[in-house]
């Protein structure tokens, strides 16, 4: 138990905090914003290692383990996109390129996916791009503390959904993601004006969708695909935070409305997972763990 907490919570939080420190200590330095995506990507990678107690090879034996490399790639893309004086066209090219790689690598080569692989690659690439953009857009308009808190709640919700869908490993990794976001929330509380999560938007979108889509492709429980997409793309509703900010519903009131709206699709996803579970014949055993 303690090993799990150490590897899945303490280690990723410590790595995230260490890398995020320059941004928190020098909030007015534009270049310091670039450490935010690196902090989230490296924190998640550290937690991935802490949970699995091994690193993922290239290519990994288990296809889903691409997610750690995708998180690091998104972190690098995020750094380029967050650096000052980078031309807009370069930012777009990097963002679209990273989304394309995500779409290409997140879909496994299972034989039964042959007919739909291309479609899923495009869908996944578009999803990660849209969710990342909405997070960025929202971060520029919504209150940073509220937005970070909402994303943290979303990560906890994603973890709960993944456990309900019989993929505890992915649920555990969603816990790692939540641990990293917890550090972002502390940073946002410490520096109230600092838009800490915005530059890390592409990484947050990548991690959230990596977990949900991988769990969907590996599903053996009969949970509907729509549930996985809803849970993975829920951070897209960060855009609502941006909208609330734009119409001047800010602060904790805005965060509350935002939280309800982000958690609603995850709630639907959990309900669908539980319904799929209830269709499994009842066991005489209270719990198999």
């Amino acid at each position: 138990m303690w090993n799990m907490v150490l590897g899945g919570v303490v280690l990723p939080a410590a790595v995230t905090a260490l890398i995020l420190l320059p941004m928190v200590c020098a909030p007015r330095m534009a270049a310091a914003r670039a450490v935010a995506p690196l902090a989230l990507g490296a924190g998640f990678a550290a937690g991935f290692f802490g949970c699995l107690r091994k690193w993922a090879a290239i290519p990994p034996v288990e296809h889903w383990q691409w997610m750690v490399w995708l998180a690091l790639l998104a972190a690098l893309a995020g750094v380029v996109m967050a650096l000052p004086r980078v031309p807009s066209v370069v930012r777009w090219m990097v963002g679209i390129g990273a989304a394309g790689v995500f779409g290409w690598l997140i879909v496994p080569g299972f034989a039964d996916l042959a007919d739909v692989r291309g479609r899923w690659r495009i869908t996944a690439g578009v999803l990660v791009l849209v969710v990342g953009l909405l997070l960025k857009w929202s971060a520029e308009r919504a209150g940073p503390r509220g937005l970070t808190l909402v994303q943290l709640l979303g990560a906890f919700g994603l973890a709960g959904f993944l456990v309900a869908a019989n993929t505890a490993r992915f649920g555990q990794l969603a816990g790692v993601y939540a641990a990293c976001l917890g550090v972002f929330l502390l940073a946002a509380l410490w520096r109230p004006g600092l838009r800490v999560l915005g530059p890390a938007g592409p990484v947050a979108a990548t991690i959230s969708l990596s977990l949900a889509l991988s769990a969907m492709f590996y599903d053996t429980s009969g949970v509907p695909q729509v549930a996985y997409v809803l849970a993975g793309a829920a951070p897209a509703l960060a855009g609502i935070g941006g909208f609330l900010g734009a119409i001047r519903i800010k602060g904790w009131r805005g965060a509350l409305v935002h939280a309800v709206l982000v958690l609603a699709p995850i709630g639907v996803a959990v309900a669908l997972a539980l319904r799929a579970e209830s269709s499994t014949p009842a066991s005489d055993y209270e719990s198999y763990y």
């Binding site: 090993n3 091994k54 034996v61 299972f110 053996t220 198999y288």
Partner: protein, 193 residues
Amino acid sequence: MMKRSTTGVWMVLACGVLAPAALAADAYKVDGGHSNVIFRIKHLNAAWFYGRFNEISGTFLVDDADASKNVIDIEVKAESVDAKMDKLNEHLKSADFFSVREFPTISFKSTAISKGEEGKIKATGNLTLHGVTKEIGVELEPTGPVSDPRGGQRAGFEAIFTIKRSDYGMNFMPEQLGDEVRLIVSIEGKRGA
């Protein structure tokens, strides 16, 4: 009924991928219904838990005369894992354990077979589990051959050996489940008809 070989029956399990010539007339086809692959693992460090796989296939060959033909090749469908509880079965099939969508089969293919002591057979081969292939050595206790009352001939063997699941990348829940897994493999096959 045929007399049981006392010097150790040279048995070969060869699945359909083997060249037909190698299987020839001596080939035994695994009878999945009468074959068993059972695993044992420590649960919560409290007790041994047993599960099994229900779909086993392959072919084997008994050949005392020509040892060069001897090969062992077994295939088990990972999706057929059966641990008595439906919810547990689903969890075992998931990416947390056997990841059956990515790794649908578990196989053993022999690379060398030799006579062991007391009529047993020593087999070395590649065990592929969860996408990882590792060479292991197992000792087989041959049974049969006997004449099948319905025609043809039947023979089998049993092998009991232990692997570490972490060697095959299956390291989820290390504190709740033991690392060592004992496998009890009992195969029955039929040749002729």
